[in-house]
Subunit: 317 residues, 2 copies
Amino acid sequence: MANIHDIAKASGYSVSTVSRVINHRKYVTDQVRQRVEQVMRDLDYVPNAVARDLSTGKTHNIGVVLPHSQHPYFTQITNGVMEAAFAAGYRVVLLPSKYDERVERHYLEQLRQRAFDAVIFTSRGVPLSELARDDAHKKMGRIVCCENPGDLPLSAAFTERNSTYETAFEWIKKRGYKRIGMLLSREYALSATSQAMIEAYKDVFHELPRPELVRTSVVNNQDGYDSAQYYIDNDLQPDFIFGNGDDIVANARQCYLDHGLVVPGLMGQEHQLSSTLLHIPTIDHHFNEVGRRAFELAVSDHVAQRPVASTFIDVDE
Amino acid sequence: MANIHDIAKASGYSVSTVSRVINHRKYVTDQVRQRVEQVMRDLDYVPNAVARDLSTGKTHNIGVVLPHSQHPYFTQITNGVMEAAFAAGYRVVLLPSKYDERVERHYLEQLRQRAFDAVIFTSRGVPLSELARDDAHKKMGRIVCCENPGDLPLSAAFTERNSTYETAFEWIKKRGYKRIGMLLSREYALSATSQAMIEAYKDVFHELPRPELVRTSVVNNQDGYDSAQYYIDNDLQPDFIFGNGDDIVANARQCYLDHGLVVPGLMGQEHQLSSTLLHIPTIDHHFNEVGRRAFELAVSDHVAQRPVASTFIDVDE
DNA sequence: TTGTAAGCGTTATCAG
DNA sequence: CTGATAACGCTTACAA
């Protein structure tokens, strides 16, 4: 494979001139440019991307850490990042983590090695303080997380859920529901989302949700079905189910239908197709937008926070 | 940021020795290794990944070209590639294309520039012959496609659908269905999948499918619902619907239910949760496995084909 | 076991 | 407008 020196030699010009031609710089006569381009074509030359990256100190790669790849939360954020990255001439590198902290630290290490210009944590196992600390050192590229980092000096793009959750619970309360089943992804202690949901519940109902009606580790559609099965088997009879995804709620509903039971009131999240089809209210967290914002922060020089307001979507009466 | 020379200087050893320590090579005294590692820690040194890539001529990056990111076909293949890549110490770079041939060629160009070690086309707009030609040149990394390339010298991992489709249509025929609605992603001319479905239909029924019952451009759940709506609005009354995805078929079913009409026989694809819940037969194309195989080919020196048998999944009677 | 020096292929600085 | 030459940071023959 020909390199820039071969082109210089064959064209009779210097490597600097060839480099200028490659990068469409000014200060090259049209004559010279034509000639050099001709030689590049003749020798079937293409510049080496890695050498450029080394020389410029940029890779144009953005790593996206993904605990898993099924939940719409992750796919939507990833899509948002990808769209913004594509538009800006950057690439997205997938970094599966399964919440394994050693793997996450491995990616931080790769960031320090300049394998990427930045890393976006869609979620994480390592403490936020650790991410903030490493970023502060500035020996590595930028780190962006997708949750509210509070006072930590850490870039973040995330949905502002609290007020929307309150709106949602007001909606539920107004309609007289009392026994609210809640389907959560992760435990209260581990998840900012779960915390936000439960805090909003407390603010609206002035009490804690009934522990027996709160299901955690509800991640996929089957879990949604199983949650309903659990309510039925244990005769818990929630009169309303607020789930962490439209499809999950839809599958819970299916369970009631399969048993010939009356379906409780329902509310989903994510604004998937099923909420529209079933005419149930939902919450759109605009994760796509979160992804776009996360990318902007990833390529920005400043540490900043970008909250994205989520939207409560009522049913058409 | 310290580099390998700084470490050499500070430790009193040469860069080659430092390099040996970094790469855990033999032929370094434990004493020396200890000392060098101490200095690396002291100076907070990490080797530069890009410099290594340039020196070794490998990036450990595998590009995956994705026309779009919603359909389970693409997400499953991508997941398969990602799992295999992770296990082998490679990274997956997302390359969105929207079937735009200029964008696809841009990625081929980046491959030639050695931005990736290989590129996997989950689907493509450019002719296969073009991919085969470029790969043959060997001036670039490997190219892998995810469909049967026939006689072309091109690496490929793909599902062997034909015999499974025949099994599926035999199943349908045996149960006496006559008016078969088919939901396809892309037109016959453009899609190997659509062709395989229709060929299998011909082989089993000894006639072409009724054109008015064949719907194309059915990609998402809403399209599934709309297809049923189309059948209803035009009074076409298929007695069976064979769709290109379980969820899509489930949404078609929902349309019939919403209209209070009797639901035709149903068969899905992809083996998603909905087929299990609705007790309808489906086909598992094992796209995850296709992704894994595609990765293996991407890092292999040889051009090879890896067909993956798809599976017809009957309902539990 | 350790060191020297030549790559790897660009970009960037500074003269001319 | 063009050209030397020094980075960029590491790997790897080849010597010693």
